[in-house]
């Protein structure tokens, strides 16, 4: 089953994070339901009241007289001071209870459990995902086992970013020089799209992470595939591309496990062909799109830090074939 980021009001009715309403707005053990319901009721109440007052007490045509001069009413005013106060106290206690009761709201500090499952490093304008326990490095697309709390450590290599997976959990900033933590939890297998939520520069818009939640066995297969170094390509064109890649400046920024390419400035490309999208969400991965991207990255994703290398048609084509083969 595929999830697009959202169909209209999807999150409102189907938020999946612990704090945000487990499955339905009707489920009252959810701070979101209380807040949204409460806000809706209170705003509607005030607006309807006001509408009634202004219609009921409108001046009739030709009536120039003044209204009865009422200066106030202490009891009433005390009432609308105390009542909202109690309501807000209730909201505060409820939210605090939620925050502490929830196992998945670590906020700033590392929970006692220890090593994170994934270290997410924000870069201008792509995501690096490192699995310290599994020895996997990937970019922009990451896989997780479904229905499991994933402890995520958030870092940044340059400016502040913010990993936001709307259906999987709260957002937490990736702050350079500081580590934050959060949990992600995908309720069922599927695709979950996300975004960078903290403005980070020119291509803040195209910094879209993709989470793929899988059953444990599928996830294990993915882990195994990711742990394998890149194979040498079969086709002649792709072999040509490999040679081009390794003999040019590509290797200064990109890494491909099993080759001499060890750069860490740009995304790890070891399994780039297996990822669904390139350029952090701009295009789907296929040879044609890779070719288009390599020919002029700035045209595909204006503001991307990868320069235009002015490759010839033939070079771009060969490189695209090679990258596409990296499954």
């Amino acid at each position: 089953m595929t999830h697009s980021l959202l169909s209209p009001l999807h999150v409102l009715f189907d938020a999946q994070s612990d704090q945000l309403g487990k499955s339905s707005i009707l489920e009252w053990n959810s701070i979101t339901s209380v807040l949204m319901g409460g806000a809706l009721i209170i705003a509607t109440m005030i607006i309807v009241l006001m509408a009634w007052v202004v219609i009921r007490y409108r001046a009739r045509r030709g009536d120039d007289s003044d209204a009865p001069q009422i200066h106030g009413n202490n009891k009433l005013e005390l009432g609308w001071t105390i009542a909202p106060g109690i309501l807000l106290l209730f909201i505060f206690l409820f939210a605090t209870y939620n925050q502490f009761a929830s196992a998945t709201s670590p906020g700033a500090g590392l929970p006692k459990k220890g090593t994170p499952d994934i270290i997410v490093i924000g870069h201008q304008f792509w995501w690096e995902f490192r699995y310290p326990k599994l020895g996997i490095v990937t970019a922009n697309e990451f896989h997780i086992p479904a229905n499991k709390n994933i402890l995520v450590q958030l870092e940044s290599d340059d400016v502040i970013h913010d990993l936001w997976m709307p259906q999987l959990g709260e957002k937490m900033d990736n702050v350079p020089g500081k580590t934050n933590y959060t949990y992600l939890n995908a309720p069922k297998p599927g695709r979950y799209e996300g975004a960078c939520a903290e403005y980070c520069g020119a291509e803040h818009a195209w910094m879209r992470p993709l989470a793929v939640a899988q059953s444990q066995s599928d996830f294990n297969k993915w882990v195994h595939q990711q742990q394998t170094a890149a194979r040498n390509p079969q086709s002649k064109l792709a072999q040509q591309g490999r040679k081009l890649f390794l003999s040019n400046t590509c290797v200064n920024c990109h890494a491909i496990a099993g080759t001499s390419a060890k750069g860490r400035v740009g995304p790890d490309l070891t399994h780039v062909g297996s990822r669904e999208q390139i350029a952090a969400g701009v295009l789907n991965t296929n040879q044609q799109n890779l070719y288009k991207f390599l020919l002029n990255p700035q045209a595909v994703k204006p503001g991307i830090l990868m320069p235009n290398f002015h490759l010839t048609d033939q070079q771009a084509y060969a490189l695209a074939a090679y990258l596409e083969s990296l499954k």
Partner: protein, 549 residues
């Protein structure tokens, strides 16, 4: 009394700006009324510029994967839009109204320091022009209006824009501090005999506390700007992560100004509503003490809530909860005001003038912005919705649906006083309805977009289901809104020439500014009427049932 007031020659007191001498007199003026109007002209100009920036962004966002603007252009536009609206429109526009109205409301001849007042205005103007000079000085700022480091630092910006930003805002910020100082001293020392602090008109009361907030919040901004400028120009390391600095320092710095700033941008608008609603309901304000007292509470609390901008920055649970509690608490005094305004209209005899319509729309829209504001005080909720279009919708409901509508209520209310002619009511109604419909069309759907996962400050977005449609609705709304604002400009031009001549007190209002000619003479009052209550003109009109307080 209003029914026998003499209709003045409407050009009697202000020099004409059509003549060179007149223009020179405007430039060199130290009269609070002229400076107030200069503020309003200047800020309205910037309002149009900021509005055009917004429209360009809305065109870009009307469709998914649109290429009307480049990301670089878009980022400069939203930075300039936010900066312009906050620093060059809302705040100085409110100060402009205060400049014009406050001395009149308290029966003063002028501000305490008229020359300082002129200096403030020109600092605001030059600060604003310096900011806009960045467009020809290598590129506009592009790190957002709250300029988070390290993105706003030298290594991550491609142009000198952020340096213009820091210095421009600093210059206009010093001007703002001077104006606030001026207003506070004026209100504390220059009131008419009999006008004790407890008898201050509510607008003046709110301006007084607004002045205090500015005096204590703006220096925090100025210090932040100084540190940013030192980093950018002198190669300092306040925010250099590699040297061991912390980006959170800037966030604390900026928001300890930035959240009081939100109240700076709304307090005087509350004051306007507290003047307009009673006058057009033909009743005194319901619970003067509660409205005035809650303002004081807000002035203090506003300095304790800035951390709710940082719930997802990783401050730690203790700070999170503290700021959450304070942020929820501040909703209580805010709620009091809304209830008191509604209660003021209750049992009234409501006149649906354009000014009143804007005030009523203010109450509706501010309530919506207020309840979403409460939601942001709750940590887990905030971590979900922050930096999404839900926030964008929220603060536009507060700042546009709230403050800007309040300002328009004020414009329609005080225009006759300032220019001696009424603004046309038919054009006014058209102006109001276009703005009301346009505003809500443009911004209500943004709540939904936020829920659907649309983050703010993105120059384009993938074609997710519903996003394109909602964004298109928002864009259409923004153009209706712009058309509404255009109607206001048309109304002003039309009414300045052809508007009905205004009497001294066309609305039959009760505060002192209505006890002098429209427009007032340079020296404001021939004679200030005696002040024995909060409504001196009511007492004059109804000596038999004068107010007690």
């Amino acid at each position: 009394m209003s029914d026998v007031s003499i209709v003045p020659e409407h050009t009697a007191s202000l020099p004409s700006y059509n003549k060179f001498n007149g223009l020179l007199e405007w430039v060199s003026t130290v009269d609070h009324k002229q400076i107030g109007l200069l503020y309003l002209f200047g800020t309205f100009f910037f309002f149009c510029v900021g509005g055009i920036e917004a429209l360009l962004m809305r065109i870009q966002l009307a469709q998914p994967q649109n290429h009307f603007l480049s990301p670089q252009d878009y980022n400069q536009l939203f930075t300039m839009h936010g900066t312009t609206m906050v620093f060059l429109v809302v705040m100085p526009m409110l100060l402009g109204v205060a400049n014009y109205v406050v001395p009149l409301q308290i029966g003063a001849r002028d501000m305490a320091y008229p020359r300082l007042n002129a200096l403030s205005f020109w600092m605001f103007t030059f600060g604003g022009l310096l900011l806009y000079a960045s467009f020809i000085g290598g590129g506009a700022p592009d790190a957002g209006w709250f300029a988070y480091v390290p993105l706003s630092g030298q290594p991550y910006t491609s142009n000198p824009g952020m340096t213009y930003w820091a210095i421009g805002i600093l210059v206009s910020g010093i001007g703002t501090v001077a104006t606030a100082l001026n207003l506070v001293v004026t209100i504390l020392l220059f009131r008419a005999p009999g006008m004790s602090l407890r008898r201050l008109p509510l607008f003046t009361w709110m301006v007084l506390f607004n002045g205090f907030i500015i005096m204590f919040a703006m220096p925090a901004l100025n210090a932040s700007l100084v540190t940013l400028a030192i980093d950018r120009i002198l190669g300092g390391h306040y925010y250099d992560v590699k040297a061991g600095a912390s980006p959170l320092l800037w966030q604390h710095y900026f928001w300890s100004f930035g959240h009081p700033e939100v109240y700076i941008m709304v307090l005087p608008a509350w004051g306007i509503i507290s003047e307009v609603v009673p006058v057009f309901s033909r009743k005194p304000i319901f619970g003067y003490g509660a409205v005035a007292g809650s303002t004081v509470a807000i002035a203090f609390l506003s300095f304790a809530v800035w951390g709710h901008h940082m719930f997802s920055a990783g401050m730690g649970t203790a700070s999170d909860l503290l700021f959450s509690a304070a942020s929820l608490l501040i909703a209580v005094p805010t709620g009091i005001k809304i209830f008191n305004w509604v209660a003021t209209a209750w049992m009234g005899k409501i006149r649906f003038t354009t000014s009143m319509l804007f005030a009523l729309a203010f109450i509706v829209q501010f309530t919506i912005g207020g309840v979403t504001g409460v939601q942001f005080g709750v940590v887990p909720f905030d971590r979900y919705t922050t930096d999404s279009y839900y926030v964008v919708a929220h603060f536009h409901y507060v700042l546009f649906g709230g403050t800007a509508f309040g300002l328009f209520a004020g414009f329609y209310y005080w225009f006759p006083k300032a220019f001696g002619r009424m603004l046309d009511e038919r054009l006014g109604k058209l102006n109001f309805w276009l703005m009301f419909i346009g505003f809500n069309t443009a911004f209500f759907v943004q709540h939904a977009l936020g829920w659907m996962g649309m983050t703010r400050r993105i120059w384009t977005y993938p074609d997710y289901p519903g996003w394109g449609v909602y964004n298109m609705i928002s864009t259409v709304g923004s153009f209706i809104l712009a058309f509404g604002v255009l109607m206001f400009a048309v109304n002003v031009f039309y009414s300045l020439k052809k508007g009905e001549i205004a009497s001294e007190n066309p609305w039959n209002a009760w505060t002192l500014e209505w006890a002098t000619t429209s427009p007032p003479p340079h020296y404001n009052f021939d004679q200030v009427p005696p002040v024995r209550s909060r409504r001196p003109l009511w007492d004059l009109q109804h000596p038999d049932k004068a107010d007690k307080d």
